[in-house]
């Protein structure tokens, strides 16, 4: 696994990958990063540099959806090439090593690259009982703290590590928390999504390798390149929203005509992600294009933000029950107030026992 010193050109040649293929890869990665095509050579040059950052990938309370989505365990393709560019020194799912040998490999990688490696985390960290999630006898919390100490930067992959995600959702039995609530002294890049878009992951790392810095982040620590605009702004169904043409049910004429899904609970307007532009499954489509409203999976508390099928313009807690109860209470109060008023009027109108006031005036 550790072939850091060998220059990229030799490794390409060893893998039988032509320089032309590498050039093609850099061109498509530039357009992925929404960088101008002229930067492709710059990316090529960066990827060739001998400096290859080591990456430690730690998985905590996660469903491996993120790993599967990012690493394309299926068909090795140009993406895997980029992982050749980095030295993925520890990944429980992918690495051949197991048991103590794997742990030893990680310890060694952390030691050798102290302060220089990138720590990638997917899954939230349970603060409840340590027993909820341990690896090799060590609680996720301790593993994270140890790994974070020497990390140059932390990339939180997926809504679970970024914002707590589904384990964090009410009632949060394990006391799960996002990484940012534990590690506060390291630069953290959140790449939320359930799962996040694969291209986002590779691009963040390509950006780090190319420019040596993390991409510009928004107030929730997400790369603005991908999370700067909400789905609604880049959704191809937006003209239907403007004209007020909405699908009423999932199979009515409107839905078939590809009208806006606002009324079916789409959370596009309040969700920041690049699904509408980069799309999923290599640009095939994204949830809205497939006919289902966006769930808002890249936003904190998306699971507790009210039903996925309740339109944004509906109140989440206001409902018949509360109003009926309030009505009953109101009527009771009204009657009480009315009776009190009548009583007060009666006393006011009762003739005063002592001399009537008017006579004196």
């Amino acid at each position: 696994m550790i072939r850091r010193q060998q220059p990229l050109s030799e490794r390409l040649e060893a893998r039988g990958i032509s320089r032309r293929s590498f050039l093609k890869f850099c061109t498509t990665t530039a357009s992925l990063l929404a960088l101008s095509p002229a930067l492709a050579p710059r990316i090529a040059e960066a990827l060739e540099s001998p400096r290859r950052p080591s990456v430690i990938w730690l998985s905590f309370q996660e469903c491996t959806g993120c790993s599967e989505s990012i690493l394309r365990a299926g068909a090795p393709s140009i993406e895997s090439l980029i992982f050749e560019a980095i030295s993925l020194d520890y990944h429980e799912t992918l690495q051949a090593a197991a048991g103590h040998q794997a742990e030893a490999a990680r310890e060694q990688a952390m030691a050798e690259n102290a302060g220089g490696y990138i720590l990638v985390v997917d899954g939230s960290v349970p603060l409840g009982n340590a027993g909820f999630s341990t690896v090799a006898g060590q609680s996720n919390l301790d593993t994270l703290k140890a790994a974070a100490a020497g990390a140059a930067a932390i990339i939180c992959m997926g809504t679970c590590s970024a914002f707590g995600g589904i384990p964090y959702a009410n009632p949060n039995p394990t006391g799960a928390v996002p990484v940012s609530e534990i590690i506060t002294d390291k630069p953290i890049v959140n790449v939320p999504g359930c799962p996040p878009i694969p291209a986002v992951m590779t691009s963040v790392i390509a950006h780090y390798i190319t420019f040596g810095t993390l991409p510009e982040l928004d107030h929730l620590g997400r790369p603005k390149v991908f999370y700067g605009q909400n789905i609604h702004d880049r959704c191809y169904r937006r003209p239907f929203y403007e004209r007020g043409q909405f699908a009423e049910t999932f199979d009515d004429e409107g839905a078939k005509a590809g009208w806006c899904l606002y009324k079916l609970g789409c959370k596009g307007p309040t969700t920041y992600n690049a699904c509408a532009v980069l799309k999923w499954n290599d640009g095939t489509s994204f949830p809205i294009e497939a006919g289902h409203g966006c769930l808002g999976c890249s936003e904190p508390n998306f699971w507790d933000g009210g039903s996925f099928y309740k339109p944004l313009s509906q109140g989440t807690e206001i409902g018949g029950k509360t109003l009926i109860a309030a009505g009953v209470a109101g009527i009771a109060g009204g009657v009480a107030a009315g009776v009190a008023n009548r009583a007060k009027q009666k006393t006011l109108r009762a003739p005063k026992p002592e001399a009537k006031k008017e006579d004196k005036a």
């Binding site: 990958i17 050039l23 093609k24 061109t27 140009i78 004429e253 078939k256």
Partner: protein
Amino acid sequence: MSRPDLNAVLRQRARGTGNMVLVLHEVAHALEALAARGEARVIDLSSLPMTAPELDRLTDWLGRGEVIAQIEAEGRSEAMETAYPGVWLVTHRDRDDMLRGRYIEITPLPEILRSQPADIAAAGRRMARALTHFSDLEEAS
């Protein structure tokens, strides 16, 4: 709400966003610059908001030239000279044949077609090795 007329919707999507004309003007200016000052340019089509039918009409408008080059490098790529020499249409696909990029390159020859120096050097070494065990016997039969 009136019943939506599907054809009208599809016609509307075909008319698309109207960006096609803008791109073509940009290509025209780039072509003049190439002719006058030899400045090459690459326009990345994937990031421009255009509907699929609009993109196809764009490429149809540009037409076909005399050269269509097929490239096999980590998946198919194609470089096609349009009806306007100097304006090339380059498309890259990955091994899963997924479209990864579409570019209009205004240049005498797209970079992708040129054999790369590193590959040439490697080829030299490879040929030398292959020739070492090339025996007369094979040459005679």
